[in-house]
């Protein structure tokens, strides 16, 4: 399974963990992960610890999640980025839209 979903104890925080390549093939699973969760999440966390690769379609998917989570009022954190992933996010200046850790 390339995408794992976990809820926090109070059910308000959704963590989506990506394993392996985060690219176009992950699209369906990623979408299902947040679409199937209840709508009133206060925070979304995308854990990229085991993600080996990120391409522009992954960036697109992050934007879709942000849109789903409320756009400008959303709280989406991208965590556990390795150097390569961080580089891609930096070039795209995604820290202007997401909290990146």
């Amino acid at each position: 399974m390339a995408v794992l979903t976990m809820s926090s104890a109070d059910g308000k925080e959704l963590t989506i963990k990506i394993k392996g390549r985060f690219d176009f093939s992950t699209h369906q699973e990623f979408r299902s992960a947040y679409e199937q969760a209840p709508l009133d999440m206060s925070c979304y966390i995308v854990d990229l610890k085991d993600a080996t690769y990120l391409d522009s379609s992954a960036l697109g998917m992050l934007l879709l999640l942000r849109d789903h989570a409320g756009g400008d009022s959303s709280h989406v954190r991208i965590v556990n980025c390795n150097a390569d992933v961080k580089k891609i996010l930096t070039i795209s200046n995604f820290e202007q839209l997401f909290t990146i850790q």
Binding site: S56, S57, G60, M61, D67, I91, S92, N93, F94, L97
Partner: protein, 558 residues
Amino acid sequence: MRLLIAEDNPSDRIILANLIKRLGHDVIQATDGQQAVDLFIEHRPDILLLDVLMPNKNGIQAAREIRHMAGEDLVPIIFLTSLNEASDLAECLEAGGDDFLTKPYNPVVIKAKILAFSRMRRLHTETQRQREHLVQEQLAAKGIFDKIAHYGVLNSPNIRYLISPKAIFNGDVVLAARHPNGDLLVLLGDFTGHGLPAAIGALPLAEVFHGMVSKGFALEDVLREVNAKLKSILPVGVFCCATAVHLGFRNRSIEVWAGGLPEGVIYNSSTREIKQIKSKHLPLGILGQAQFRYEPSYFEMTNDDVIYLWSDGIIETVNSDNEMFGFERLLDVFAKTPDKTKVFDEVLSHVQAFAVEDGEQADDHTLIEVRMQDAPEIALEQALLIKPKVARRGLADCTLSCELGTESLKQFDPVPLLTHFINQVPGLKPYTNTLNTILAELYSNALEHGLLGLDSSLKNSAQGFARYYALRHEKLLALTEGKIRFDMTHEPLEEGGKLTLQVTDSGLGFSIPERQATIDGLSHYHGRGIRLIKTLCQRLEFIAPGNSVIVEFDWKWL
């Protein structure tokens, strides 16, 4: 359907042939492996049934040859066998067999398998047809895309570029256009996604870009408009990484906005200095109008400067060890190539040499090189070469007065609009470059010196250049009061006309004698603009207390 059976045993052959004929198919019979291959070539059957043990080439060898010949086509091969060793069966599959029929032949089983394979064949043919259709569509889209994305001034002598032949599929766009005053604007874009969705974004991008640049709009205005357009038409998650450059030959400046593409480079071939153009913005099409940021970098332009921009392809090309070409290697190529005219080719050949053997990545690059051009004179000459058959109907005798208040000055560049207005005088069309230059120069003079109090001598040093523009931005934001007024009068004359233009700012002005003295003896950038205007106009006069300039431009029908 047409089936080929290869079976050396005659009674087995009779049984099988008849069973298949009974199912309504045509049968071609071969008695050994070689004959099976020959008959395959001749008749191209839909399905093959091959006995494994046959004289004169066994079924396995025949299958291998037939597979090889079939290439992309789907030709199901069913082996006939009473072999039951697992290793034998494995070998059959390896040779290209799709299934087995064991002896004794069971008519029900035979019928079922033939049916299954014919279904598979139909699906395969359908898929191939759809794929062919898609390829045709994409080629058509590419045709349109090429026209839109590549027209403009990409063929200027100071530009070299390579667009990946897969551009339609990977969303790369390169655009170049000229301001009426000769300035050059270049944009390299990379849409996310592939194929048609990526190409569709390129069309409005190119239209807005070319349309606005030709009217003299500033880079900021162009990008704001492009961003808004893309945000409105692209779905969430699709965006355009881009780097845009405004080469201002008039004031020797390079203004760069970078959002999402890997670093570009300004390389000075004589000092070997490399300045990096880093991405500081989100790509186009993501932010709404209010949140869109425009925080460009400024560089001073020298004749030996060359700008290099690329989409992902170059840096991320991998070799057989899965190592990336990387930024360091690129800098190395620059360092090791003394002849600036060869850098473009050197970069490409190094990347191609580095890439993985299979060659798929070899020319999947989009790279653009832009050299500096000398003087705005080039652009002005271009204008005079145009001798359109102008309609003689339009504006003739007219006056326009326009005053911009503080809020307007902060948000709006009036130069394109005023240029457009005065262009409505038919005979002035060939002089658009000149007029735009005059208007732009007087306006920036009024705004930057008159209202913001900036000192042009700041632009003399490399650091100072960037500092000047940063200051300009800061001071403009902080401006609380100030106005600029334009008064234009046009009077038609027998052989042409006379345009009088006065620009007045609400600043303090300066002492005139001081100004007059410096204009004539000047060798710095800031005076260059006014000096240039002086050469273009019949009269240039500063009016006390120095916050108003009046120029006269006489023209003749061409």
